[in-house]
């Protein structure tokens, strides 16, 4: 979600380019960046809809968070904020109790297994003060009453391009390689309050695992542990009570469901919804055991008979 008013702003002397450093080495607005919500779609309502999954039916899949009970979700928020709120688009606020409420709904709908919230605003730690759902880990760039500061000013463009918390987070990850197993605790301990000019504070009371055992790649980098199963994927929380039949491999995606649902699914093709095709199907069913040609001959015969009788009657 990007409010998106910077890259193509007339005041940007590098049109359609957004940098996070004054060395201008990385364009954050290039072709390989996917932005799902931009401009006026960035609202508190849409954000909460994405989190909870309550969309209108017409919203495409790319704009939905398609997570399930095994997902690890990273939510990174940055901008202007204050005591228990984060500012959206200069005219709206996301409040901490609304966020906590959304996370609670997510938990009840089994939309995540673990959730990491990182907030880089002023008084960031207040934004997650109301969370109560288990499995949630949250870190903010500053405590209540503290400001968060920008890192450096790009004199070419005339604005500050990156905040300190974000800058040091990026610096941490740039030191790692793909096979490193740095843990979250090393990430959280890497923040130095003198360099940040604020105190990065985090909340781990809702998170069940100790931080030193959680690799950062659980949330960053999308490296997942794969388990090979012979059965359909059920998720970790459900007991395998129902009988699950094999799903035909025409549909390569794994679907959850019980047996009844499977047979119904098999019957539901796109064509079935049309009434003409429904009739054809009925006919076909009936004709399955008979010869179609015999039927045609019977039909022709009855037509000739009818014609003969009508001519005899009219004469």
């Amino acid at each position: 979600m990007l409010a998106d008013d910077m890259a193509c702003n007339a005041r940007n002397s590098y049109p359609a380019q957004v940098f996070n450093n004054e060395n201008h080495m990385l364009n954050l607005y290039g072709d390989n960046v996917e932005v799902d919500y931009r401009g006026y779609e960035v609202t508190v309502e849409n954000f909460l809809r994405v989190l909870t999954g309550r969309h209108e039916t017409a919203v495409p899949r790319s704009k939905r968070l398609l997570s399930d009970e095994g997902s690890h979700i990273l939510v990174y928020m940055t901008g202007h904020g204050g005591d228990e709120f984060l500012k959206f688009q200069d005219n709206e606020e996301l409040q901490s109790h609304d966020l906590a409420d959304a996370v609670k709904q997510m938990k009840e709908k089994h939309r995540f297994k673990e959730l990491l919230i990182m907030v880089d605003t002023c008084q960031a730690a207040t934004l997650f003060s109301q969370l109560q759902s288990p499995g949630v880990l949250a870190i903010g760039s500053s405590k209540k009453g503290e400001n968060s500061y920008s890192h450096h000013l790009d004199s070419d463009i005339g604005v500050s391009v990156v905040d300190r918390f974000t800058y040091y987070t990026l610096a941490f990850f740039e030191k790692l390689n793909m096979y490193s197993n740095a843990s979250l605790s090393s990430l959280f301990n890497s923040y130095d309050s003198h360099l940040l000019m604020s105190t990065a504070s985090y909340r781990e009371d809702l998170y069940r695992r100790p931080l030193s055992e959680v690799p950062v790649t659980n949330f960053f980098g999308s490296v997942m542990k794969t388990f090979h199963t012979d059965f359909a994927y059920t998720g970790f929380s459900m007991e395998p009570e129902a009988h699950i039949s094999l799903v035909s491999e025409t549909d390569s995606r794994r679907t959850l469901g019980s047996e009844n649902a499977q047979t119904e699914a098999a019957n539901h093709n796109a064509k079935d919804n049309c009434p003409f095709h429904a009739w054809l199907k009925v006919l076909e069913d009936k004709l399955d055991n008979e010869n179609a040609e015999k039927l045609v001959l019977y039909g022709l015969g009855s037509m000739v008979l009818l014609l003969a009788i009508s001519t005899l009657l009219s004469v």
Partner: protein, 671 residues
């Protein structure tokens, strides 16, 4: 029963406190008014100490955050234009518009939209309705050949990625009749900035550059252009020809003037103006180790531009380009003895306070105090006079924040090397200001609009300087109340018996007197309109005629309408005196000891003499310029000056101050 009595007593007890305080004040009104007046005076004297440092209120401005890109290439363009202008000047004029042609050609080469703007400068006629409308030129359009015509040149750069709703205006005035080196340098600087801005990629607002032809006055050229900008006229082609034929003898141009296929006679606009800057290169006057930038901020009738604009210019000038910033100050005050004395007293007090408690650090040195007081006095004077200090004043009438600044170099600028470094720094400063204003999404609204500067980086806002004026005005209603109550208490002795029957309607007669005097004042203020119609009259004669006519009309009015001389005239005076913030309350009651009476008589006489506006004017001029050169004609000249600039001070003096003064005399001479 007792409960009810208690309840009846309690509500009476509470209002009693307020009434008690009010009656205490009214009964001691003399003491109270003296205390308040002295407190007000002290509050005004303390202004330089109470000044705060300036700061940028609008965070979006971010002055100096981006490095300026104005480079040596732009400076060389400026030098080329300066050379061309000086050569054209040397060649002599044939049509009188070579410089305009040159500028237009250069602007068109850069790719801007260009056009000429013809205008007629205003005459000095007095017209009563000019005070109340901006449309002052409408009466003068059917003019004869001896009005002055000027030709401005305007160029517009459209921001390539902007939305075209707002514009930033740059103005460089120059005297097209005789272009001196300074004017040529201003034009060069303006053009180099203009061409630089046509190539930058960060523009979000359009840029307008007005090269104002100031041969008949800087202000009139800018205000004529602004008036045409804000009043679009939709007319058919016949009227166009009619307008042009008037000027055939002035401009030998064909009706459809084409330049590169574009019509340069059509007035083009660029949206609302976010801010405007009038800049020029001034004379190299002082031998100072740094180059000087002088800022003029006051606009007509005491309006000021938003303080943020001044703060941005000051910040960039001092912290980025190394200029020294000057604001106007009354030079005579800096060296005045009594001001330095006051400064020393305050410095001593400040040191005393610091010794008592190190946290009370509010004292400033006496030299700083004198400078600060001189600057505040100059600011107050210009705001009170209501005359703008530069052509930026024309912008304020349309709610556009504008300032004038003039660059003075510490070296003589005949040499090209000196010129280039000077132009480089000036260009970078202006580019920085434009970049800051470019960042804005809204008009200037965060910082102050009512303020006075005590130094380039210190200001006093309205909440501070209004305290002094409020304290001066506070005793007036209190004295009015005390007079009213005394009058009631002493009964109606001494008035006409016939009026006793009209007990509480006594104030009507007071109101009638006041009304009559106000009417006379109105007639007196309108008289100059007729007097100025008389041809070939000298200022001295005008003044004498004016005074004579006024006095005679006053006498006639008194005779015709009669005069209900009564105590209530005093109340009448105090009814309108609360409007005057300058007139000191005159104490009327003459009962008392002989010494007291003599003292009050002397005070009243002195105040009467000083209060008479022409006398006050002559005295002030005498103090500032020496008494030899002052004549009665100065009164007429100053009055003319005030009404030419549509200054509200003129209205104030005539409709408020003069009636008060006449009423005070009326009361003093009351038997």
């Amino acid at each position: 029963m007792p409960a009810e009595k208690d309840e009846a007593k309690e509500p009476r007890a509470r209002p009693r406190l307020i009434i008690f305080m009010a009656s205490f004040l009214v009964s001691h009104s003399t003491l109270f008014s003296v205390v308040c007046c002295i407190a007000g005076l002290i509050a005004l004297l303390l202004l330089p100490i109470l000044a705060k440092s300036t700061y940028i209120s609008e965070n979006a401005l971010m002055p100096g955050s981006a490095n300026p890109v104005f480079s040596g290439q732009d400076v060389s363009e400026a030098s080329r234009l300066v050379k061309d202008i000086t050569e054209t000047q040397k060649m002599g004029k044939t049509t009188g518009i070579e410089i305009q042609r040159l500028i237009i050609q250069r602007m068109a080469d850069v790719g801007a939209e260009v056009y000429y703007h013809k205008f007629q400068s205003q005459s000095n006629q007095f017209h009563p309705f000019r005070f109340f409308s901006c449309d002052s030129n409408s009466a003068v359009t059917e003019s004869n050949s001896n009005t002055s015509n000027g030709l401005n040149t305007v160029g517009i750069i459209r921001a390539p990625r902007g939305d075209g709703k707002e514009a930033i205006v740059l103005v460089t005035p120059y005297n097209s009749e005789y272009v001196k080196l300074n004017d040529a340098l201003s034009l060069g600087l303006g053009f180099s900035i203009f061409s630089h801005l046509s190539r930058v990629s960060w523009l979000a607002k359009d840029i307008l550059w007005l090269a104002a032809d100031s041969r008949y006055g800087e202000y009139s050229s800018v205000s004529a252009w602004l008036k045409d900008y804000h009043n679009p006229v939709f007319f058919s082609s016949e009227n166009v020809d009619a307008n042009v034929t008037h000027d055939k003898d002035f401009l030998n141009m064909e009706n459809k003037n084409m330049l590169n296929g574009r019509n340069v006679d059509v007035f083009k606009r660029a949206g609302t103006m976010a801010a405007a800057m009038v800049f020029k290169v001034g004379e190299a006057m002082e031998r100072d180790p740094r180059d000087i930038l002088t800022i003029y901020a006051e606009a007509s009738n005491g309006q000021m531009p938003n303080l943020d604009l001044i703060n941005v210019v000051h910040y960039l000038a001092v912290h980025r380009q190394g200029f020294r910033v000057n604001i106007g100050k009354l030079a005579s005050l800096v060296n005045s003895a009594w001001l330095n004395l006051v400064g020393q007293i305050l410095e001593w007090l400040g040191n005393l306070a610091k010794n008592l408690n190190p946290k009370w650090n509010f004292g400033i040195s006496s030299a700083d105090y004198a400078e600060g007081a001189a600057t505040v006095a100059s600011s107050m004077y210009h705001q009170a006079l209501g005359v703008p200090t530069g052509s930026h004043g024309a912008f304020r009438d349309y709610q556009v924040d504008a300032i004038t600044f003039s660059f003075s170099s510490r070296f003589y600028l005949n040499n090209e090397n000196m010129q280039s470094s000077f132009i480089l720094r000036g260009g970078r400063l202006i580019e920085g200001v434009i970049r800051s204003v470019n960042n804005l999404l809204e008009k200037f609204h965060q910082s102050f609009f009512l303020y006075m500067m005590t130094a380039p980086n210190k200001f006093v806002s309205v909440g501070v300087y209004m305290i002094g004026f409020a304290l001066l005005a506070l005793p007036l209603p209190v004295v009015a109340a005390s007079l009213f109550l005394n009058h009631k208490a002493t009964g109606f002795t001494g008035t006409e018996e016939a009026k006793i029957a009209f007990g509480s309607w006594q104030w009507l007669y007071a109101a009638k007197t006041v009304l009559m005097i106000d009417l006379w004042a109105l007639i007196a203020s309108l008289m100059p309109y007729f007097i100025s119609q008389i041809p070939n009259i000298s200022p001295t004669e005008s003044t004498l005629l004016w005074v004579a006519l006024s006095v005679s009309i006053l006498a006639v009015l008194y005779v015709i309408l009669g005069s209900p001389y009564s105590h209530s005239a005093q109340i009448g005076a105090l009814l309108i005196v609360p409007m005057c913030l300058v007139v000191r309350p005159l104490k009327k009651h003459m009962q008392g000891a002989l010494i007291l009476r003599a003292l009050s008589l002397v005070c009243n006489l002195v105040m009467v003499v000083i209060g008479f506006p022409p006398a006050a004017l002559l005295l002030m001029k005498g103090f500032s310029e020496g008494f030899e050169g002052v004549g009665i004609g100065a009164v007429w000249e100053v009055a003319e000056f005030l009404w030419v600039w549509n200054s509200a001070t003129y209205l104030y003096v005539f409709l408020v101050h003069l009636p008060c003064w006449v009423l005070c005399i009326h009361i003093l001479l009351h038997p």
